[in-house]
Amino acid sequence: MAPFYKYGFFSEQTGLIVALILGISFGFWLERSGFGYSRKLALQFYFKDNTVLYVMFTAILVAMLGVLFFSLFGWLDITKIYINPTYIWAQLIGGLILGVGFAIGGYCPGTSVVGAVTGHIDALFFLGGAMTGMFVFGEMFPSIEDLYNWGYMGNVRLSDVLNVSSGVVAFAAVVLAIVMFKGAEWAQNRFGKEVL
Protein backbone atom coordinates (compact mmCIF):
# COMPACT_ATOMS: atom_id res chain seq x y z
CA MET A 1 0.00 0.00 0.00
CA ALA A 2 1.36 3.37 -0.98
CA PRO A 3 2.63 5.87 0.11
CA PHE A 4 5.49 3.49 0.82
CA TYR A 5 7.37 5.77 3.21
CA LYS A 6 4.35 6.36 5.44
CA TYR A 7 3.77 2.62 5.65
CA GLY A 8 7.33 2.05 6.79
CA PHE A 9 8.73 0.30 3.72
CA PHE A 10 11.95 2.30 4.03
CA SER A 11 13.65 4.56 6.54
CA GLU A 12 13.88 8.32 6.55
CA GLN A 13 17.48 8.12 5.35
CA THR A 14 16.51 5.99 2.37
CA GLY A 15 13.80 8.57 1.72
CA LEU A 16 16.53 11.14 1.15
CA ILE A 17 17.95 8.98 -1.64
CA VAL A 18 14.46 8.77 -3.13
CA ALA A 19 14.39 12.58 -2.90
CA LEU A 20 17.60 12.80 -4.89
CA ILE A 21 16.29 10.49 -7.60
CA LEU A 22 12.95 12.29 -7.83
CA GLY A 23 14.84 15.57 -7.95
CA ILE A 24 16.97 14.34 -10.86
CA SER A 25 13.81 13.48 -12.76
CA PHE A 26 12.20 16.81 -11.81
CA GLY A 27 15.23 18.78 -12.98
CA PHE A 28 15.50 16.73 -16.16
CA TRP A 29 11.93 17.38 -17.24
CA LEU A 30 12.07 21.06 -16.28
CA GLU A 31 15.14 21.51 -18.45
CA ARG A 32 13.70 19.45 -21.32
CA SER A 33 10.66 21.74 -21.46
CA GLY A 34 12.90 24.81 -21.59
CA PHE A 35 12.19 26.02 -18.07
CA GLY A 36 15.82 26.95 -17.53
CA TYR A 37 15.43 29.85 -19.92
CA SER A 38 13.89 32.94 -18.34
CA ARG A 39 12.70 34.54 -21.57
CA LYS A 40 10.79 31.44 -22.55
CA LEU A 41 9.04 31.47 -19.17
CA ALA A 42 8.31 35.18 -19.30
CA LEU A 43 6.87 35.16 -22.83
CA GLN A 44 3.94 33.27 -21.34
CA PHE A 45 2.74 36.55 -19.85
CA TYR A 46 2.55 38.14 -23.31
CA PHE A 47 0.64 35.18 -24.79
CA LYS A 48 3.56 34.51 -27.10
CA ASP A 49 4.70 31.16 -25.76
CA ASN A 50 2.31 29.00 -23.83
CA THR A 51 4.84 26.42 -22.64
CA VAL A 52 4.43 27.30 -18.95
CA LEU A 53 0.68 26.84 -19.05
CA TYR A 54 0.79 23.61 -21.04
CA VAL A 55 3.52 21.99 -18.97
CA MET A 56 2.13 23.03 -15.64
CA PHE A 57 -1.45 22.02 -16.28
CA THR A 58 -0.51 18.76 -17.98
CA ALA A 59 1.63 17.90 -14.96
CA ILE A 60 -1.13 18.81 -12.50
CA LEU A 61 -3.70 16.77 -14.43
CA VAL A 62 -1.46 13.71 -14.73
CA ALA A 63 -0.57 13.73 -11.03
CA MET A 64 -4.12 14.53 -9.95
CA LEU A 65 -5.72 11.79 -12.03
CA GLY A 66 -2.98 9.39 -10.99
CA VAL A 67 -3.60 10.02 -7.31
CA LEU A 68 -7.37 9.72 -7.73
CA PHE A 69 -7.26 6.51 -9.74
CA PHE A 70 -4.64 4.89 -7.53
CA SER A 71 -6.76 5.57 -4.47
CA LEU A 72 -9.81 4.31 -6.32
CA PHE A 73 -8.03 1.04 -7.05
CA GLY A 74 -7.02 0.87 -3.40
CA TRP A 75 -3.29 1.19 -4.09
CA LEU A 76 -2.79 4.55 -2.48
CA ASP A 77 -3.99 5.69 0.92
CA ILE A 78 -5.03 9.25 0.15
CA THR A 79 -5.44 10.14 3.82
CA LYS A 80 -1.69 9.74 4.34
CA ILE A 81 -0.77 12.19 1.60
CA TYR A 82 0.38 15.61 2.65
CA ILE A 83 -2.15 18.28 1.68
CA ASN A 84 -0.74 21.79 1.77
CA PRO A 85 -2.52 23.64 4.61
CA THR A 86 -4.65 26.53 3.38
CA TYR A 87 -4.11 30.03 4.76
CA ILE A 88 -6.27 31.60 2.15
CA TRP A 89 -5.46 35.30 2.52
CA ALA A 90 -1.78 34.80 3.22
CA GLN A 91 -1.53 32.59 0.16
CA LEU A 92 -3.54 34.96 -2.01
CA ILE A 93 -1.33 37.91 -1.07
CA GLY A 94 1.82 35.80 -1.25
CA GLY A 95 0.74 34.58 -4.69
CA LEU A 96 0.19 38.14 -5.91
CA ILE A 97 3.64 39.20 -4.67
CA LEU A 98 5.21 36.11 -6.18
CA GLY A 99 3.48 36.77 -9.51
CA VAL A 100 4.96 40.26 -9.64
CA GLY A 101 8.37 38.77 -8.89
CA PHE A 102 7.83 36.16 -11.62
CA ALA A 103 7.14 38.76 -14.32
CA ILE A 104 10.09 40.92 -13.26
CA GLY A 105 12.62 38.21 -12.46
CA GLY A 106 11.54 35.70 -15.10
CA TYR A 107 12.01 32.61 -12.95
CA CYS A 108 10.43 30.82 -10.06
CA PRO A 109 12.64 29.18 -7.42
CA GLY A 110 12.69 25.68 -8.95
CA THR A 111 13.32 26.84 -12.50
CA SER A 112 16.03 29.28 -11.39
CA VAL A 113 18.01 26.33 -10.02
CA VAL A 114 17.77 24.63 -13.41
CA GLY A 115 18.69 27.90 -15.10
CA ALA A 116 21.72 28.32 -12.87
CA VAL A 117 23.16 24.86 -13.56
CA THR A 118 22.71 25.27 -17.32
CA GLY A 119 24.74 28.46 -17.32
CA HIS A 120 22.14 31.26 -17.22
CA ILE A 121 23.77 34.14 -15.41
CA ASP A 122 20.47 35.90 -14.73
CA ALA A 123 19.34 32.79 -12.85
CA LEU A 124 22.29 33.17 -10.50
CA PHE A 125 21.30 36.77 -9.82
CA PHE A 126 17.73 35.63 -9.34
CA LEU A 127 18.81 33.02 -6.80
CA GLY A 128 20.80 35.62 -4.90
CA GLY A 129 17.76 37.88 -4.92
CA ALA A 130 15.44 35.12 -3.78
CA MET A 131 17.66 34.31 -0.84
CA THR A 132 17.83 38.00 0.05
CA GLY A 133 14.03 38.18 -0.09
CA MET A 134 13.74 35.16 2.16
CA PHE A 135 16.21 36.68 4.58
CA VAL A 136 14.16 39.89 4.65
CA PHE A 137 11.03 37.87 5.28
CA GLY A 138 12.69 36.04 8.16
CA GLU A 139 13.84 39.33 9.67
CA MET A 140 10.37 40.85 9.35
CA PHE A 141 8.63 37.72 10.55
CA PRO A 142 7.75 38.81 14.12
CA SER A 143 5.91 41.87 12.80
CA ILE A 144 4.01 40.10 10.01
CA GLU A 145 3.14 36.93 11.82
CA ASP A 146 -0.57 37.81 11.79
CA LEU A 147 -0.51 38.25 8.02
CA TYR A 148 1.36 34.95 7.69
CA ASN A 149 -1.41 33.11 9.54
CA TRP A 150 -4.32 35.01 8.00
CA GLY A 151 -7.22 32.90 6.79
CA TYR A 152 -6.31 29.50 8.21
CA MET A 153 -8.71 26.79 7.00
CA GLY A 154 -6.80 23.58 7.78
CA ASN A 155 -5.76 20.96 5.24
CA VAL A 156 -8.82 21.47 3.10
CA ARG A 157 -9.30 20.34 -0.48
CA LEU A 158 -11.53 21.90 -3.09
CA SER A 159 -13.99 19.03 -2.75
CA ASP A 160 -14.46 19.82 0.97
CA VAL A 161 -15.18 23.48 0.36
CA LEU A 162 -17.45 23.00 -2.65
CA ASN A 163 -19.12 20.03 -1.05
CA VAL A 164 -18.86 17.76 -4.08
CA SER A 165 -16.92 14.56 -4.60
CA SER A 166 -13.29 14.83 -5.66
CA GLY A 167 -14.12 13.11 -8.95
CA VAL A 168 -16.34 16.03 -9.92
CA VAL A 169 -13.64 18.53 -9.02
CA ALA A 170 -11.12 16.57 -11.04
CA PHE A 171 -13.47 16.53 -14.01
CA ALA A 172 -13.97 20.29 -13.65
CA ALA A 173 -10.19 20.74 -13.53
CA VAL A 174 -9.79 18.75 -16.75
CA VAL A 175 -12.48 20.83 -18.47
CA LEU A 176 -10.92 24.03 -17.17
CA ALA A 177 -7.53 22.95 -18.48
CA ILE A 178 -8.92 22.18 -21.93
CA VAL A 179 -10.70 25.53 -22.06
CA MET A 180 -7.54 27.32 -20.97
CA PHE A 181 -5.40 25.44 -23.51
CA LYS A 182 -7.77 26.40 -26.32
CA GLY A 183 -8.01 29.99 -25.12
CA ALA A 184 -4.26 30.29 -24.80
CA GLU A 185 -3.78 28.86 -28.28
CA TRP A 186 -6.19 31.42 -29.68
CA ALA A 187 -4.41 34.22 -27.81
CA GLN A 188 -1.03 32.98 -28.97
CA ASN A 189 -2.09 33.21 -32.59
CA ARG A 190 -3.55 36.65 -32.03
CA PHE A 191 -0.57 38.19 -30.16
CA GLY A 192 2.10 36.71 -32.40
CA LYS A 193 3.61 33.36 -31.68
CA GLU A 194 7.24 33.36 -30.63
CA VAL A 195 8.06 29.87 -29.45
CA LEU A 196 11.73 29.56 -28.54
Binding site: W29, R39, L98
Partner: protein, 167 residues
Protein backbone atom coordinates in the same frame (compact mmCIF):
# COMPACT_ATOMS: atom_id res chain seq x y z
CA UNK B 1 27.57 20.91 -30.74
CA UNK B 2 24.38 22.51 -31.99
CA UNK B 3 21.64 23.11 -29.45
CA UNK B 4 18.79 20.68 -29.77
CA UNK B 5 15.22 22.02 -29.66
CA UNK B 6 13.14 21.74 -26.50
CA UNK B 7 10.78 18.83 -26.25
CA UNK B 8 7.03 19.22 -26.64
CA UNK B 9 5.42 20.88 -23.61
CA UNK B 10 2.99 17.98 -23.33
CA UNK B 11 5.86 15.49 -23.06
CA UNK B 12 7.45 17.68 -20.42
CA UNK B 13 4.15 17.98 -18.59
CA UNK B 14 3.57 14.24 -18.58
CA UNK B 15 7.13 13.63 -17.38
CA UNK B 16 6.75 16.14 -14.57
CA UNK B 17 3.32 14.79 -13.68
CA UNK B 18 4.65 11.23 -13.40
CA UNK B 19 7.54 12.46 -11.25
CA UNK B 20 5.09 14.22 -8.97
CA UNK B 21 2.87 11.16 -8.86
CA UNK B 22 5.85 8.98 -7.91
CA UNK B 23 6.64 11.44 -5.13
CA UNK B 24 3.13 10.90 -3.78
CA UNK B 25 3.37 7.13 -4.18
CA UNK B 26 6.79 6.78 -2.55
CA UNK B 27 6.87 9.54 0.02
CA UNK B 28 3.29 10.71 0.41
CA UNK B 29 4.37 14.27 -0.28
CA UNK B 30 4.95 16.47 -3.30
CA UNK B 31 7.95 18.26 -4.69
CA UNK B 32 9.21 21.69 -3.70
CA UNK B 33 11.97 24.19 -4.13
CA UNK B 34 11.72 27.29 -1.97
CA UNK B 35 11.86 25.35 1.30
CA UNK B 36 15.35 24.14 0.41
CA UNK B 37 16.41 27.68 -0.45
CA UNK B 38 15.06 28.89 2.89
CA UNK B 39 17.13 26.24 4.65
CA UNK B 40 20.19 27.30 2.77
CA UNK B 41 19.56 30.97 3.57
CA UNK B 42 19.13 30.15 7.24
CA UNK B 43 22.30 28.12 7.18
CA UNK B 44 24.27 31.05 5.74
CA UNK B 45 22.82 33.41 8.36
CA UNK B 46 23.49 30.81 11.03
CA UNK B 47 27.17 30.69 10.16
CA UNK B 48 27.51 34.41 10.78
CA UNK B 49 25.03 35.04 13.57
CA UNK B 50 23.95 31.92 15.40
CA UNK B 51 22.25 33.65 18.34
CA UNK B 52 20.30 35.87 16.00
CA UNK B 53 18.90 32.82 14.19
CA UNK B 54 17.90 31.15 17.41
CA UNK B 55 16.15 34.30 18.66
CA UNK B 56 13.94 34.50 15.57
CA UNK B 57 11.15 31.90 15.62
CA UNK B 58 10.99 31.71 11.83
CA UNK B 59 14.70 31.14 11.28
CA UNK B 60 14.91 28.77 14.23
CA UNK B 61 12.42 26.47 12.52
CA UNK B 62 14.79 26.09 9.57
CA UNK B 63 18.05 26.04 11.50
CA UNK B 64 18.84 22.33 11.26
CA UNK B 65 21.85 21.26 9.27
CA UNK B 66 20.90 21.70 5.61
CA UNK B 67 21.83 18.17 4.56
CA UNK B 68 19.26 16.60 6.85
CA UNK B 69 16.35 17.88 4.88
CA UNK B 70 14.31 16.11 2.24
CA UNK B 71 13.92 19.14 0.02
CA UNK B 72 17.62 19.89 0.06
CA UNK B 73 18.37 16.43 -1.34
CA UNK B 74 15.63 16.94 -3.90
CA UNK B 75 17.13 20.25 -5.02
CA UNK B 76 20.58 18.67 -5.33
CA UNK B 77 18.84 16.16 -7.59
CA UNK B 78 17.25 18.99 -9.60
CA UNK B 79 20.71 20.46 -10.14
CA UNK B 80 22.04 17.11 -11.38
CA UNK B 81 19.02 16.40 -13.58
CA UNK B 82 19.00 19.88 -15.09
CA UNK B 83 22.72 19.74 -15.76
CA UNK B 84 22.58 16.31 -17.40
CA UNK B 85 19.61 17.27 -19.56
CA UNK B 86 21.27 20.51 -20.64
CA UNK B 87 24.50 18.65 -21.36
CA UNK B 88 22.79 16.02 -23.51
CA UNK B 89 21.08 18.72 -25.55
CA UNK B 90 24.20 20.90 -25.81
CA UNK B 91 22.49 23.76 -23.99
CA UNK B 92 25.00 24.29 -21.17
CA UNK B 93 26.52 27.66 -22.04
CA UNK B 94 27.08 30.91 -20.19
CA UNK B 95 24.42 33.37 -21.28
CA UNK B 96 21.72 35.70 -20.06
CA UNK B 97 18.07 35.16 -20.88
CA UNK B 98 16.66 38.50 -22.03
CA UNK B 99 14.68 40.26 -24.73
CA UNK B 100 16.42 42.13 -27.56
CA UNK B 101 15.77 45.58 -26.07
CA UNK B 102 17.55 45.34 -22.75
CA UNK B 103 21.21 45.23 -21.75
CA UNK B 104 22.74 42.35 -19.85
CA UNK B 105 23.40 44.40 -16.74
CA UNK B 106 19.89 45.79 -16.50
CA UNK B 107 18.56 42.29 -16.85
CA UNK B 108 20.78 41.08 -14.01
CA UNK B 109 19.53 43.89 -11.80
CA UNK B 110 15.90 43.11 -12.61
CA UNK B 111 16.51 39.41 -12.02
CA UNK B 112 17.84 40.22 -8.58
CA UNK B 113 14.89 42.51 -7.76
CA UNK B 114 12.38 39.98 -9.08
CA UNK B 115 14.09 37.26 -7.09
CA UNK B 116 13.86 39.28 -3.90
CA UNK B 117 10.15 39.95 -4.43
CA UNK B 118 9.56 36.30 -5.21
CA UNK B 119 11.55 35.07 -2.23
CA UNK B 120 9.44 37.20 0.05
CA UNK B 121 6.18 36.09 -1.57
CA UNK B 122 7.16 32.43 -1.53
CA UNK B 123 7.75 32.50 2.20
CA UNK B 124 4.52 34.38 2.89
CA UNK B 125 2.47 31.82 1.00
CA UNK B 126 4.40 28.80 2.38
CA UNK B 127 5.54 27.52 -0.99
CA UNK B 128 6.37 28.44 -4.54
CA UNK B 129 5.16 27.34 -7.94
CA UNK B 130 6.51 23.81 -7.39
CA UNK B 131 5.72 23.33 -3.72
CA UNK B 132 2.32 24.96 -3.61
CA UNK B 133 0.88 25.46 -7.10
CA UNK B 134 2.01 22.15 -8.60
CA UNK B 135 1.79 19.91 -5.52
CA UNK B 136 -1.21 21.65 -4.01
CA UNK B 137 -2.86 21.81 -7.41
CA UNK B 138 -2.50 18.06 -7.92
CA UNK B 139 -3.88 17.25 -4.46
CA UNK B 140 -6.71 19.75 -5.07
CA UNK B 141 -5.72 21.80 -2.01
CA UNK B 142 -7.71 25.03 -1.83
CA UNK B 143 -4.64 27.13 -1.05
CA UNK B 144 -2.78 25.72 -4.04
CA UNK B 145 -5.44 26.73 -6.54
CA UNK B 146 -6.01 30.17 -5.01
CA UNK B 147 -2.25 30.72 -5.04
CA UNK B 148 -1.90 29.58 -8.64
CA UNK B 149 -4.52 31.96 -9.97
CA UNK B 150 -3.06 34.77 -7.86
CA UNK B 151 0.37 34.15 -9.38
CA UNK B 152 -0.87 34.10 -12.95
CA UNK B 153 -3.14 37.11 -12.37
CA UNK B 154 -0.39 39.23 -10.86
CA UNK B 155 2.15 38.15 -13.47
CA UNK B 156 -0.14 39.02 -16.39
CA UNK B 157 -0.91 42.39 -14.77
CA UNK B 158 2.74 43.22 -14.18
CA UNK B 159 3.89 41.97 -17.58
CA UNK B 160 2.85 45.18 -19.36
CA UNK B 161 5.15 47.31 -17.19
CA UNK B 162 8.25 45.22 -17.80
CA UNK B 163 7.60 44.45 -21.48
CA UNK B 164 10.86 46.12 -22.52
CA UNK B 165 12.68 43.41 -20.68
CA UNK B 166 11.26 40.50 -22.66
CA UNK B 167 9.87 41.55 -26.04
Amino acid sequence: MKEKPFWSPYAGGIGLGITLLLAFVFMGRGLGASGAMMRFTTWVVDVFAHDHVMANPYFAKYAEHPFSNWLVFEIIGVMIGGFLSGMLAGRNKWRTGRGPNITKHKRWLLAFIGGAIMGFGARLSRGCTSGLALTGGATLAVGGWVFMFAVFGAAFATAYFVRKQWI
